[in-house]
Structures are given as C-alpha cells and as structure tokens.
C-alpha cells in the first residue's frame, strides 16, 4: 500500500470541496456574527451537518452556494437559540409605533451595520436576511418560520427600529 496516510482520498463530496468552500462560508458568517469565535462555531456546525448528511447518502449537488445556504440556516438557528434565552428580556421591551419611516438621506453603511447589531434578535434576523443577504420576503418568511404578512409586518417594524437606532448614533444626520 503506497497510501498517503495524512491525506486520504476525499471520497466525500463535502470534504472534497472543503478547502475552496471554507473561506466562503467563513466569509459569509464572520461579518454577520460579529465575533470570530461564534463564526467558527457556526462554520463547524455547517460543515459537520453537511458531512453527516452526505455520509448518509442523501445529498446531490454539493457546492459552495449550497453550503452557504446551510450556513444561513445555522445562523438563523443560532439567532433562535439566543432569542429563546432572551425572551423574558425581549418581552419587557417598550412597545414602539410600527410605522415605516422612509429613509431619504444617504445611509452610512458602517453605522447602519453597527445599529443593526444592536437591534433585538428577531428584527436583526429579518433585516439581515432581507438586506444583507438580499433574500425575497417569502424566503425570509421561510427562514424565520413566519407567514409572509407577519414577515412584512416584522420588516416594517424592524426598519423603523433600525432607523431610530441609526439616528441615536447619528443625531446630526437628519
């Protein structure tokens, strides 16, 4: 046997594209997590779930885009977990008027990302999927397990909340 022990043949399709897919999946998660350790945890969950599914022979068409989709699911699952842990706190948040508040000034995107990171999880999740990832409302609804009308309401409310957060940090902008 002349096998190379350190590098066994990558018979698994997920292992086969690991080197190419890893920087893409990490590059997707890192700016959305805001923390390298959380991003690493979710990268691990993503690839281990993918390879487990693949070993069970249930996968066809493994590619980078599919893995990024798995990573998006893992990110939403993470938000859900955090939200469950924080539910008692979230319930105590003051109610705010859920009017859509049109943005007319040019947006400082870095400040908007910072404001986004401070929103409660359901709002942050909805806006991230809709705007950072560019998903359609129906796809956002599917990820969040909500109906489309409920998701539209959540998006409207979240935009208003982002607007307020952004203004608090940029009082001179408007």
């Amino acid at each position: 046997m002349g096998g190379d022990v350190d590098h066994p043949p990558a018979s698994d399709p997920v292992v086969a594209i690991y080197r190419v897919a890893l920087p893409q999946v990490y590059g997707y998660l890192l700016p959305r997590c805001g923390s390298a350790s959380l991003a690493e945890d979710l990268v691990s969950e993503t690839f281990l779930a993918a390879v487990t599914a693949s070993r069970q022979g249930s996968l066809t068409g493994v590619n980078v885009a599919w893995l990024v989709g798995v990573a998006r699911h893992k990110l939403v699952d993470h938000w859900r977990r955090v939200e469950r842990e924080q539910r008692s706190l979230a319930a105590a948040e003051p109610l705010v008027a859920d009017v859509d508040d049109p943005w007319d000034e040019w947006l400082d995107t870095e400040a908007a990302y910072a404001a986004l990171a401070r929103l409660p999880i359901p709002q942050r999740a909805a806006l991230a999927l809709r705007y950072l990832d560019g998903l359609a409302v129906a796809a956002v609804a599917e990820h969040l397990g909500r109906s489309i009308p409920a998701t539209e309401t959540l998006l409207t409310r979240s935009r208003a909340a982002l607007r307020r957060q952004y203004r608090e940090e940029h009082p001179d902008d408007s």
């Binding site: 690493e40 069970q56 935009r159």
Partner: protein, 170 residues
C-alpha cells in the same frame, strides 16, 4: 419608485481564511464522522425453546429491553448498543432449518459477554433468582468472569474489568 436605501446594506461574501488550526481541526472532525455502516448495531441471534421465558429472563435479570415481539417465535431485545434476537427453532425465517433439514438449537460454547459494574453483586442477585451457573467462581485475565445459562441452555458470560483490562479507545 425610488430604490430602497437599505439595499445598500447588501453584504456580498468576501472570502476570509479562518485560523489554520481551526481549519485543520474541523477537517479532522469531518473525516471522523462515521459512515452509517460503521454505526451498524452489533447483533447476535440466540435460539431459545420458550420465547416468553427467554424474554422474561433477559429483561428481568440482565437488563435487556424488549423492542419487538411480533409473533410467538421471535423477539428483538436491546441492552445498550447490543441487539439480541431470540428465535424459536422451526419454520419461521431466522429459526428455520438448513436445506438439509437440520434445525438450529440452543446451547453450545460460544456466548455473548455482558459487562457488569459489580460482578459479585450480580452473581449474588442472579443466584437468588434461581439462575443456573455453569461456573460461578470468578476467574480470568484482566477481567473477572463467570458463566451462566439462559432458560434454554445458552451460555452467557458476565465480566467485570480488572487490572490490565483493555478496550479500543472511542
């Protein structure tokens, strides 16, 4: 209709290499994910004369759980990861005769080994329950072991790890 200003928040994927130690560790973890065939349940079949007596014996005295008993001549039991099939010799598949007509039968020398935490206590409890021991004097190398029979005469070895005991690391 004006463009949505929030569309400028679109965050395209910029590839980022994670720490190399992280990347290598994750790859090793992925390669260690079991193939389904390597997770297959270890399974043993014993032939018994009286299925009810056998199921009661394994459940009540040796810690097995009944998983299935679809008919009077077959039962599937579990003890942890071990699956034990009990078949009554006869026409039913599993206990059926060989092509030359030979029927399987209980007994013989080959046996399952069941690990217990406290061999002396296990022997004492089984003796009180009237179990027949072929050899109840603990002996062995790197283990202490005894040999008993189920109601059909199938041997069962009980053992308790002792100095020098070895198992493959998981």
């Amino acid at each position: 209709m004006t463009a949505d200003p929030l569309d400028t928040l679109r965050l395209p994927i910029v590839p980022v290499e994670p720490r190399s130690e992280f990347a290598e560790t994750l790859l090793r973890r992925m390669q260690a994910v079991d193939q389904p065939e390597r997770r297959a349940t270890p399974t043993i079949r014993y032939f018994v004369r009286d299925l009810d007596a056998a199921v009661d014996f394994y459940r009540q005295l040796l810690g097995f759980e009944e998983e299935l008993r679809p008919n009077p001549v077959f039962a599937m039991l579990y003890r942890g990861d071990l699956r034990l099939l009990l078949s009554v010799p006869g026409t039913y598949a599993g206990g059926h005769a060989l092509p030359d007509g030979t029927l399987p039968s209980p007994g013989g020398w080959n046996r399952i080994l069941l690990q217990v935490v406290d061999l002396d206590a296990a022997v004492e409890a089984l003796r009180r329950a009237g179990v027949h021991f072929l050899d109840d004097r603990p002996s062995g190398v790197a283990v202490r072991q005894v040999l008993l029979e189920d109601p059909s005469g199938n041997p069962i070895e009980l053992f308790e790890p002792a100095t020098g005991y070895h198992e493959r690391a998981r």
